[in-house]
Symmetry: C2
Subunit: 334 residues, 2 copies
């Protein structure tokens, strides 16, 4: 068990309350970072080098049910029990290890359901760990606030710290070495006209996971040295864009931030090129489409899939230009 | 006419000698940078921010003949007279403007022949301007040394400063504002086993020229701030690799340098993505091939084409893995 992490869990729970129910359930949305999290300052506590900002994807995400068991953990994903030796189960069990002492129970059954295909490149670990923490809280009756839930989810996956909220979410990197100032907060601004379009490029599993990818980048890329400054400036621009509902500034900054993140990967050794031939075709297409006067921007996570950003007024035209995209409305409609 | 440049030409020529012949001819090789030139510290005199290092491509390059005319310039490329309003002719005429006062003649006929298709993505402006300067020197009988020729070629195209030599060539960025310490020198080391393989990806003209591309990158990319340090370190590694005939170090450093250059472009705004879908496919293929144990590295200039680096002992295997590549032997065979 990870001692540093379990001490952190105890600190957040402040000794913990007594167990309320034998089971709990929760939903957490997927999120797409407009200013990316890329690089850790502390691997043990999953503390980031830079603050990040995301948009949660409304009803798209993960539903998770958890309940106590007397013998051995069981983990089901989308209705199918997962092999104990799979990376997926190993990661969840390591995370549950942190809560076993507090909950006074040795084993759990976890049933988790993603309502968006993992192939779409939406960070399922973000909504997955957020939903798991919310379900644990629901079962245990801890009554944790969002800040505490965000910090616990962070231990499972950095970007999960943002998936405990709807809407625009900022994860503050924090400065403390004990990790207690590194949590996400919601920006109280709604933007119902905002649209996200998923262009599915590849259903293949990534050859290098994001965690290994960012570690390799930080360790070997000279250009990464300029990334924290870039991320800081981009975060300020995106906040300003959201406050003023300035879509051009939002889109432009999100696109350049994502491409700069991919640039740091490309300059790592061995080089990290998550983009596939189809990704490059779509990037060129977005540039051409924009040059033709249709305002659409893109963002890309550590994978091959492209996510488009556009406004409701251009939804028909964007769907025409990019057939087969899945359109997401992150905010409830007016 | 560009006054700063013509003053520089007069300085290099030291008043010039008298005209010897009515025509001159010369050949200059293409070159591929192993440590890239990317970014100018002075646009007027074509002075680079970082030093660079290239390998000349032996017999591949440009043959140029020049002779005096009484009326209007004529420029032929590969046997075809080029339209006066073409960018190609405009650039050559602007360059010739710098030499008209010294040569006491108003007009020239320039016949230039590239023995490698421009579609292969080999910088034809490098061998082109180098050959033009060598032909001018041949015609005028100036008897300039290579350092002077390199500085004059530099005014036409930065990378042309390296194409006045065979073999490994280092272009020293220099520090002086008058440009007189910014010229290329040959490294007196031969490496007959070295091979370059051209993977032709696209015959299309680049949407953004290298000159505009580097200016946009320097002006808008935050990550570019780390490029000079990267280039400095890479140059030292590549020199060391050449001195020790350490192919692994050479290949690895050249590949990471090229990808870092593309990374700075990707983080520019608007983003510069010279890579095409096929380029990405080839980059992944090089990584897979290397993972399978065949030692091959790549470099990419500001365009979509991929150049492979490998040793003679692996030539058959590399040609098998990359059918259709054009293999170049930069050094005379033993």
């Amino acid at each position: 068990m990870n001692t540093i992490q379990s001490q952190f869990v105890e600190k957040v729970l402040l000794g913990g309350k007594s167990l309320q129910k034998a089971e709990g359930s929760a939903f957490a949305p997927s999120n797409i970072a407009l200013c990316k999290y890329w690089g850790k300052r502390d691997a043990g506590l999953n503390l980031p080098i830079n603050s990040s900002l995301s948009i949660s994807l409304g009803e798209l995400g993960t539903h998770t049910k958890i309940r106590l068991r007397e013998r051995e953990d069981v983990v089901c994903l989308n209705g199918v029990q997962q092999a104990d030796e799979s990376g997926f189960v190993q990661r969840i069990k390591a995370f549950l290890d942190l809560f076993r002492p507090v909950l006074g129970s040795a084993f759990f059954e976890v049933r988790t359901q993603n309502n968006i295909s993992t192939a779409a490149g939406l960070a399922s670990s973000a909504s997955g760990f957020a939903a798991l923490v919310l379900a644990l809280d629901n079962m245990a009756g801890w009554g944790l606030d969002r800040k505490q839930l965000s910090m616990l989810a962070r231990l499972g996956s950095g970007s999960a710290s943002r998936s405990v909220y709807e809407g625009f979410v900022q994860w503050n990197a924090g400065q403390l070495s004990d990790g207690t100032d590194s949590f996400a907060e919601r920006l109280e601004i709604e933007w119902p006209e905002l649209r996200v379009g998923i262009v599915e490029v590849s259903a293949d599993q990534k050859p290098v996971g994001s965690r290994d990818g960012m570690n390799r980048t930080v360790a070997t890329s000279e250009l990464y040295k300029s990334w924290p400054d870039q991320a800081r400036a981009d975060l300020l621009s995106i906040r300003s864009a959201i406050e003023q509902l300035d879509f051009t500034l939002l889109g432009k900054t999100a696109e350049r931030n994502a491409l700069a993140m991919h640039a740091t990967m490309l300059s790592a050794w061995p080089p990290l090129l998550y983009l596939q031939p189809d990704s490059v075709e779509q990037i060129h297409k977005v540039q051409r489409t924009r040059a033709d006067g249709l305002e659409v921007y893109l963002t890309i996570d550590a994978g091959p899939n492209i996510k488009l950003l556009f406004l409701a007024e251009n939804e028909c035209e964007v769907c025409g230009a990019f057939p087969g995209i899945r359109v997401i409305r992150p905010f409830p409609q007016l």
